[in-house]
Amino acid sequence: MSSCRKRCKREMFKFAQYLYRLVTGTLHADSVEDELELSAVRHRPEGLEQLEALTRFNRKELQILYRGFKNECPSGVVNEDTFKDIYSQFFPQGDASTYAHFLFNAFDTDKDGSVSFEDFVMGLSILLRGSVQEKLNWAFNLYDINKDGYITKEEMLDIMKAIYDMMGKCTYPLLKDDTPRQHVEIFFQKMDKNKDGVVTIDEFIDCCQNDENIMRSMQLFDNVI
């Protein structure tokens, strides 16, 4: 009962305030301040020397990377929406937002909701300058959505659908609804040795190391930077 009365009082007070503002013509005075964005977030990366030590890029490469990074994200961090936006621009025909979401999670190693330059550059270091083992590790981490150490069929299906979404509608041959599922079946047949319905990291790495195509394609992007 008293809480009801308290609430009543609060509502009356708010109404009185509203009437007062109506009379004095300051009805919209507050909203301006609220519009200040939370863009006060600024992030400055670690020094060049530290980054050089942490990653396998040299000074010049780090400079080029940072310039490109800062150009697109002046605040120094990428949040998920910006990340999706940037990644989608490379795949104009399809919808790259789902896959970008998974990529974002893969890069955001400290799980703080934003990718800073250190995250960015460390991820790239693995992808471009890491050993095959490290790269495969990274790929496994990407597929393992809940990071529990196992890739289930559902997780793989999600990833596969996201990849096929990037293709868009206009493909040849026409994309059928169960194409991702079929692809997942093939993948599991290849990777799941003990047929327990999940793929562990060891199964994954073993299988990939025995596949020549995969091995060769891992070296494909070594000269990107």
Partner: protein
Amino acid sequence: MAAGVAAWLPFARAAAIGWMPVASAPMPTPPPDNRRKQDGLILLNVSGQKFQTWRNTLERYPDTLLGSTEREFFFHEETNEYFFDRDPDIFRHILNFYRTGKLHYPRQECISAYDEELAFFGIIPEIIGDCCYEEYKDRRRENQERIQDDEDSENQNDMVPPDMTFRETMWRAFENPHTSTMALVFYYVTGFFIAVSVMANVVETVPCGTLQNRVKQVSCGERYALAFFCLDTACVMIFTVEYLLRLMAAPSRWNFIKSVMSVIDVVAIMPYYIGLVMTDNEDVSGAFVTLRVFRVFRIFKFSRHSAGLRILGYTLKSCASELGFLLFSLTMAIIIFATVMFYAEKGSSASKFTSIPAAFWYTIVTMTTLGYGDMVPKTIVGKIVGSVCSLSGVLVIALPVPVIVSNFSRIYHQSQRADKRRAQKKTKLGRIAARKSGGTSAYLQYKSNGLLSDLIDEVTVDPSQALVCKANPMFDTHHNHLLHCLEKTTNHEFVDEQTFETSLLEVSMAKHPPHSPSLSSGSSSQGLSCCSRRNKRKSFNVPNSNMTGGHRNSIQELSTIHIRERPITNSRSSLNAKFEETVPLNCKQPYITAAVITLPTPPVTTPENDGSASSPDYSQANIVRVSAL
């Protein structure tokens, strides 16, 4: 794709490693990486202001000047930079485009200067960012309108092309009354008759005293019925004639009939004719009376005479949506208030608010703050509602009105500016023409000086003249030589403005031979017609070649010489007038004439042939006047 995102392509490619384990087919080989050259700084010197940027930044847009090999043309070896002799303030924005991928339009820059810079650097203006695009488009449209205005007015004020048909002349006279006296007279006469007709309509209804055996006052129209009828007939005659003439002269009759002014004209004269046909029929006399109302539309014919009326009409047309909104909101408010008023006053006795439509009248009168007082609420509720109604009426009407007013103001100022610009243009053109004629006279001066030195080597050139020749800067000398080459190529000569105009006048007068009493020579008309015919053909006639009507050759020759004498003296004297600092060339004439005659071919002559009228072997050439530079 935005330029900055291109920097993230390496990232996207690296992330593609995530697809590799699930790939169903082997990957294609990556393209060879020929981007090995290091990213260096480029120095851009724009009119002294130095800009620097990375080479890669510029190469983001390879289809622009700075991003392609086209910039190599501007490379300056001595200073190892790219030099552009353009505006550095605008270049700043162009360089920012490369850096950020967004092109902005600075408000303080002139739109055509900006467009020129964009065109120079190969950037299409459509990529201007959303923040500045609207402003850019607005300014551009304004500029186009201004140029269009100027062009239109220029076309109107052009010199009369001599071969307009009668129909075209008439149409031109109708549309631009200031072009000829006849048109002006016609314009004023029609204006006067419009005024007379409207006044007659008004006066016709004034009570004019009583007739003998009547008690009631009669209107002037009934008293002097015949006089008014004659006046009306006369006015309608004039309007009909005018309409028919306009219809005949219109270049596109269908378009003319569709136009507003034509509809107004028809509506103004139709009632009279309909009245003529239907006077005897009793049943339709009521309709006949209604038709007389339409006679008042004659007043709209004044819009041809008044620019202000036209602007008002144009404003109303362009504010159609605001007016529609005003009407709609008023209607809504009227219905609401009338309903409330009706039910509020229903109770009171002897209430004038007998129905909701009856209350409409009260609402309108109150909302527009007229307040006639013929319908007044008596209950308290009614009075409250009435006061709210009048307050809201002020608001509802006051809201769309400023939009209409600002529209009108903009259009009115635009037209004022157009008039001002036209007036300014006249003086501007005058000044430019003076400078141009200065240039022409410089060339003609050079010609007479230069020709001397060209053709006659043995003539001792006056030291002062020699000085004049040498005082010309190099550019002028080369330019003059070029003009001379052109003359030789076409076998025509440059003459000054006055000569051209006089000859043109002769040509236009020659088209109407009966109207040329000013020419003295008897064979002049014949010669003029020859001249005009030659002008029409606009070709160079070598007299020794076959000429049509060859049997008149000799007569033509003589007459053409005869006629050319006058303009020639004009030109000579005008040329001489400009040579204040040099020795007048009259003393050189004997030399000149001799030199000309000894020239075998081509038969082009210099204007200095005053004394050669008698020489029969004088190489005949028709000098068709070409307009000045």
